[in-house]
Amino acid sequence: MKEYRTIRDVAGPLIFVEKTEPVSYGELVLITLPDGTTRRGQVLDSAKDIVVVQSFEGTRGIDKSSAVRFTGDIVKLACSKDMMGRILSGSGEPIDGGPKIIPEERLPIIGSAINPYARTYPREFIQTGISAIDGMNTLVRGQKLPIFSGSGLPHNDIALQIARQAKVRGTGEEFAVIFAAMGITYEEAHYFIKDFERTGALERAVIFLNLANDPAIERLITPRMALTAAEYLAYEYDYHILVILTDFTNYCEALREISAAREEVPGRRGYPGYMYTDLATNYERAGRIRGRKGSITQFPVLTMPADDITHPIPDLTGYITEGQIVLSRELHAKGIYPPINVLPSLSRLMKEGIGEGLTRDDHVQWNDQMYAAYAEGVDLRGLVAIVGEEALSEKDRRFLKFADEFERRWLQQGRYEDRDIEYTLDLGWELLSMLPEGDLVKIERKFIEKYHPAYRKKAAGEAAEAA
């Protein structure tokens, strides 16, 4: 491997190298500093006269006499089943003091796109034990469902609760968790690891850590490392993988930093125009493939700057992912956990994963009715603030009451409370029974007669009498 000492410029995370032999686009680069340490980087632009390299580990200490080597190889991750239970750095090196991972295979971290023709549509209901998700934003195996959060909201608790409780009922198959931290604090990361250790989940987990004080550019490869590991374990070893990636906002900041250093024409708010495509190459690596047993379900977490859902990061994410779970500061302030605002939340794959034989036959219409009733109640709150509760009709007051009870009884649950889907649905029915039957227009008669508490009580009474 030839060494070059022909660095012309260093600008932010970028290094410009002159007079090289032809170098491949995307090639892995090793840079040796005068003090002997080695940094890794990647070719971003390769021309006959100059090559642009982005250094993953920053450019501090790099001078013009540093030696640049082009490896002729692209960035790869050493994959093995032994990754399970290990803690790796953001660029895939073990940092838990354990032995090196002996690779069974070295895979390029830029995965190829799944041929849409080879995909199979995700339909298997995952029970997370959280009512707001199972009931109204149902998750299925192979889905990518992000949590849109804000600073100070308990997204980590929710992600952990999902990791602890997620299961596909009746299969007994457990999820393996891949956790990738991008620019989060040591404290947050520690919180996750402690929980994994305590519950024994660590044995079935691979952890990639790029912390707040690690180089920002490394964040650009951390999720790709994690997803490469996920694909290896899912498609080679038939694991069902749950990937938690937090926090994508930090990832996008790093993307913007590189773009600015390259003096590219910025898109909205200084983020590069290709951020959509770049995010898609991460998020689209979820799903199921026909004829393969394993699956990859993604739970990216991002914090919305200033709680603004129209900010480019949540916005572009929402256009790629299959729905979103939106957390609300208002609910959090009311002391409600999980503070999931179901109105802007959505699961696009829900319709195929619920209903008869999957969850329960009434689920679809029950969901429509719950949404409509809660939305009505929330709207009325706005009105009450202006005209006072006295100005409302009897009917309106009932919807108002419904919305309050919905939050207090149905949404609210414990961090370790694992509700099954029947409980979630029945509790919802109890709330719906606060409304007159004539207002339950979204539910067919047969389901009302089967599940409405009034009819159930009657049926139970009759059964008792007959006995």
Binding site: A47, P108, A280, R285, L343, I386, V387, A391, V441
Partner: protein
């Protein structure tokens, strides 16, 4: 497309993502080149350098590598075998790619757009001695159960008198006819995607493209050969609406272009369409559909090409005299692909970093829609419905604005309606259709004479409701007069019963125009009953909670909806106006 290289050879000078700069290459703009075997297209010439956008991932490509020019523009393969296919952005069949490179998409795969070896039963419709011109039909092939593929004299070939024509089984490469000037006709020909196919003349849009969606057909109809845009933030139902149009619109052929969207959405179409039955033909919907899929993680340059591939396929079927609908989801991703390439080319950016030619490219694309008299003299149409994904759901951004300047129908999706799960979440106050006028006659003649009166009445009630709601938000419902509250109640029926439609309900997913009319009529009847009841001394509470209202709301879910609707109206009438039901 099928590729042959004949042209000049050059050397790679620079690689920057999808942009490759070559030197020593002789090339014209838009020539297709092979960069180390990867397909690309010339997008610029700068001094002695040639700028090429490559349709595949360029990792591992280095300066000094070989670039070959094919001397051909980007073209699609036309002929029997297109229907039921699923292609990538440059017409490579995805099933063939799966066979070659497995579950993940490999690079440098060459695959013709149609099966060159498959034999088709060709039936001539002209005979020896007949004279034919470009665009004329010379015979037919039964391509699927519902699509008769008409074999045309390619528009880029000279016509003449038929010397010989054969009947029987042929591959698309075989000669099926010979003209007196020596031209050999085959079932296969190529057409460059960036050049619109010729036709004789454009016709006025006076026939509706019926979609089976109440809010679209009744309030904001699109004409055959028309253009429509569906802008909306994420989660408002762009894709579901596009899928509904692909499923139920009364077109002969559907071309669905998934441009930079989710992989699972294409899978959904692929799994669902062979199962769904077309109400008009009784055959699976797949038998009339073509899919072009370039998902968000597939190479960005091919995304730019995918919409052109889609519309060229559509024009080809139009030339056979068919009504074709193109669903492009989403044109914003296409515009972003243009922006990305423009950035790499270091062009001076226009608004929000988009290239200055964004508006003209969009206009050129939508202008390829239209209802036309074909070269052969028959009538065909290409209707285009483009989804737009405005950042933050803000319609003031350049792609939405430039699209609205061209298209004639605007279906505005509304985040608020979506959050209330009112679907389709199309805002009835913001949307418009410029075809509504020109289609009035068709609805009058084919459905009912009072169709447009009912339509206008509904629009007026909805507009009036919006005005009243402003007052309600300030002073509460109690402050309204009783007849105003009746109006609110009627508007509620229009919204919740008529406008809201369940895409996933087996009956409600499709609504015939007759059913639309019956429903409008029934709501109008309720309106009259309510006002009469008010005059007769009934309170507004009694009207709002009248028994039978849930039966009325559920009638649309029944196959035999008319009976339930009539019963519900009778019940409500009896409850409010007394015995004479």
């Amino acid at each position: 497309m099928e590729v042959k290289t004949t042209g000049s050879v050059g050397e790679i000078y620079r690689v920057s993502g999808p942009l490759v700069v070559a030197e020593g290459l002789k090339a014209r703009m838009y020539d297709v080149c092979l960069v180390e075997g990867l397909m690309g297209e010339v997008v610029g010439l700068a001094g002695d350098k040639v700028l090429i956008q490559v349709y595949e991932d360029t990792s591992g490509i280095k300066p000094g590598g070989k670039v070959e020019n094919t001397g051909m523009p980007l073209s699609v393969d036309l002929g029997p075998g297109i229907i039921t296919s699923i292609y990538d952005g440059i017409q490579r069949p995805l099933p063939v790619m799966k066979e070659i490179s497995g579950d993940f998409i490999g690079r440098g795969i060459e695959a013709p757009g149609i099966d060159m070896e498959k034999q088709w039963e060709f039936k001539p419709t002209v005979k020896k001695g007949d004279s034919v011109s470009p665009g004329d039909v010379i015979g037919t092939v039964q391509e699927t159960k519902v699509v008769e593929h008409r074999i045309l004299v390619p528009p880029n070939v000279e016509g003449g008198v038929i010397n010989e024509i054969y009947e029987g089984k042929f591959t698309v490469r075989d000669t099926i006819a010979v003209l007196d000037n020596g031209v050999e006709l085959k079932m296969h020909h190529k057409w460059p995607v960036r050049i619109p196919r010729p036709y004789k003349e454009k016709l006025p849009p006076d026939v509706p493209l019926l979609t089976g969606q109440r809010i679209l057909d009744a309030l904001f109809p699109i004409a055959k050969g028309g253009t429509a845009a569906i802008p909306g933030g994420f989660g408002t139902g762009k894709t579901v609406t596009q899928h509904q149009l692909a499923k139920w619109s009364d077109s002969h052929i559907i071309v669905y272009v998934g441009c930079g969207e989710r992989g699972n959405e294409m899978t959904e179409v692929l799994e669902e369409f062979p199962e769904l039955i077309d109400p008009r033909t009784g055959e699976p919907l797949m038998e009339r559909s073509v899919l072009v899929a370039n998902t968000s993680n597939m190479p960005v340059a091919a995304r730019e090409a995918s919409v052109y591939t889609g519309i060229t396929l559509a024009e080809y079927f139009r030339d056979m005299g068919y009504d074709v609908a193109v669903q492009a989801d989403s044109t914003s991703r296409w515009a972003e692909a243009m922006r990305e390439m423009s950035g790499r080319l270091e062009e001076m950016p226009g608004e929000e970093g988009y290239p200055a030619y964004l508006a003209s490219r969009l206009a050129e694309f939508y202008e390829r829609a239209g209802r036309v008299k074909t070269l052969a003299g028959s009538i065909g149409s290409v209707s285009v419905v483009g989804a737009v994904s405005p950042p933050g759901g803000d319609f003031s951004e350049p792609v939405t604005q430039n699209t609205l300047r061209i298209v004639k129908v605007f279906w505005a999706l509304d985040t608020k309606l979506a959050a209330r799960r009112h679907f389709p979440a199309i805002n009835w106050l913001q949307s418009y259709s410029l075809y509504a006028e020109s289609l009035t006659d068709w609805f009058k003649e084919n459905v009912a004479p009072d169709w447009s009166e009912l339509r206008t009445w509904m629009m007026t009630v909805l507009q009036e409701e919006a005005n009243l709601m402003e007052i309600v938000m300030l002073v509460g419902k109690d402050a309204l007069a009783d007849n105003q509250r009746v109006l609110l109640e009627v508007a509620r029926y229009i919204r919740e019963v008529f406008l809201s439609q369940y895409a996933y309900h087996e009956v409600d997913t499709y609504c015939s125009v007759q059913k639309m009319y019956d429903m409008m009529k029934a709501i109008r009847e309720l309106n009259d009953i309510f006002y009469k009841a008010l005059d007769a001394g009934k309170t507004i509470d009694e009207i709002e909670t009248v028994e039978g209202r849930e039966d009325f709301a559920r009638a649309k879910f029944e196959e035999d909806y008319k009976k339930y609707l009539d019963e519900a109206v009778a019940k409500i009438k009896a409850n409010l106006l007394g015995g004479e039901a």
